[in-house]
């Protein structure tokens, strides 16, 4: 069964929500904390509802609406989201009030909106969609497990399309706490939301086919990852030679990038390599941005200098492998191909 990406939507530190494409040149960020360039949410959300929504909810709703519009679908047959941190801002507001007010006189809004599944719920409420609704909170695998569940839902044959996406926000609290762990010593902190309308039927604006997804938790060695990637490709009747472009989650951290270098040099020594975290920053669901980028590259058949890291841009791009890891513990592979 083929699974098509019929629509995509992305809110990121780039103007992806407005322009819907990759920049030709990488932007020069002057801060290690990248903030999402937010579109005018009033075009999708009633102003009475916006006032209760934190940024991650608005970003998720916008990405969902953009992808649905591109796919030409008003109401999907299922909604699945992935998020590692959930609605952090509202959680912070609620916990701060709990402390400051000695657990008394707590307002309901921040509490209601602080749960991880708020984004998927809000999308469903706005669309009046009563279909399957699920949220995966699996740290660096949140997006990948969203895709895996989506694929399984579609393969069961009871539905023909589904909205899948991932989103995470960076707050003052989270940035300060994560900075203490030296997570952003070599890389920029990021945030964003990316959504995809997946379908068993090819739509008029389909960007790519989603061939497969695989995850690997805490591999013991570089060789284990390399062997896993070869096995992953074989499971989809592919070899290294069939891949036209590898996209890795390089983020500038030497220890983390060593995993990518091993794969680039030993599994795909002659292939061009693109990267994406210099555009969106590092966050647990950044692979959703990477997948959005992979789809755009296949649809446009163009690898812009803004994302090309190594080698020459291929003349034809039929298959793209996205290899990403978060914090060296959560490794994932996502295979996309031309429609």
């Amino acid at each position: 069964m083929n699974i098509y990406i019929n629509g995509t939507g992305c809110v990121s530190p780039l103007e992806t929500a407005v322009e819907g494409r990759l920049p030709s040149a990488a932007p020069l960020y002057d801060n290690i904390r990248l903030k999402a360039a937010e579109p005018d949410y009033k075009q999708w959300i009633d102003i009475k509802m916006i006032r209760r929504m934190s940024r991650v909810i608005k970003m998720g709703v916008a990405a969902a609406q953009l992808s649905l519009r591109e796919a030409g679908i008003q109401k999907p047959e299922g909604i699945i989201t992935g998020t590692a941190y959930g609605c952090l801002d509202d959680t912070g507001v609620f916990l701060t009030k709990m402390i400051n007010q000695q657990e008394e006189m707590l307002t309901p809004t921040a509490f209601i909106q602080s749960t991880h599944n708020t984004v998927a719920g809000q999308i469903a409420l706005l669309l009046e969609c009563h279909a399957y609704n699920n949220t995966f909170v699996h740290k660096g695998f949140s997006f990948e497990h969203t895709l895996i569940d989506s694929i399984m839902q579609l393969r069961e044959g009871k539905i023909s399309n589904i909205l899948a996406g991932a989103m995470d926000e960076l707050t003052n609290h989270s940035f300060n706490i994560l900075s203490r762990f030296n997570l952003f010593k070599h890389t920029a902190a990021g945030e964003g939301a990316a959504c995809f309308v997946l379908s068993t039927e090819k739509g008029p604006n389909a960007v790519a086919k989603l061939k497969g997804v695989s995850v690997l938790y805490k591999p013991g060695s570089y060789e284990e990852v390399a062997a896993d990637i070869v096995g992953f490709l074989a499971a989809y009747n592919c070899s290294q030679e069939d891949i036209d472009l590898v996209i890795t989650g390089r983020n500038g951290d030497p220890a983390g990038d060593a995993w990518y270098e091993h794969v680039e040099n030993n599994v795909f020594p002659s292939l061009p390599v693109a990267r994406f975290k210099h555009l969106c920053g590092e966050y647990p669901t950044a692979s959703a941005f990477g997948t959005w980028m992979a789809g755009r590259i296949i649809a446009s058949q163009e690898v812009t200098p803004a994302v090309l890291f190594k080698g020459n841009a291929p003349s034809a791009i039929k298959k793209v492998l996205l290899y990403n890891h978060h914090d060296a513990s959560h490794h994932s592979m996502i295979l996309l191909s031309i429609c």
Binding site: K48, I50, R51, R52, M105, L106, T107, P108, T109, I112
Partner: protein, 87 residues
């Protein structure tokens, strides 16, 4: 009373995060719920907390809520009556 109503309007706008609504846009007798300002049940809870936080008033009888929170004037009347009762 006028000062209290002006203060209440500002507090309502802030507490409920009413974007694009200015305190002066809220009429003294404008219904706060449904067709008026369009507040809902979650806002009602926020208003109860507002009264507790800023005026140290607990709503003893929830059934009186619709009457108390009908408009800014009815809230102000309720606060004034409560304050005079406790003098």
């Amino acid at each position: 009373m006028e000062n209290l109503m002006a203060t209440l309007k500002a507090q309502i706008v802030e507490q409920l995060n009413l974007q694009e609504v200015k305190p002066e846009d809220i009429g003294d007798d404008m219904p706060l719920f449904k067709d008026g300002l369009g507040l809902d049940s979650i806002d009602a809870l926020e208003l109860i907390v507002l009264l507790q936080q800023h005026y140290q008033i607990r709503i003893a009888n929830p059934e009186k809520g619709p009457e108390i929170f009908h408009s800014v004037r009815t809230i102000a009347d309720f606060i004034t009556a409560h304050q005079q009762q406790n003098k």
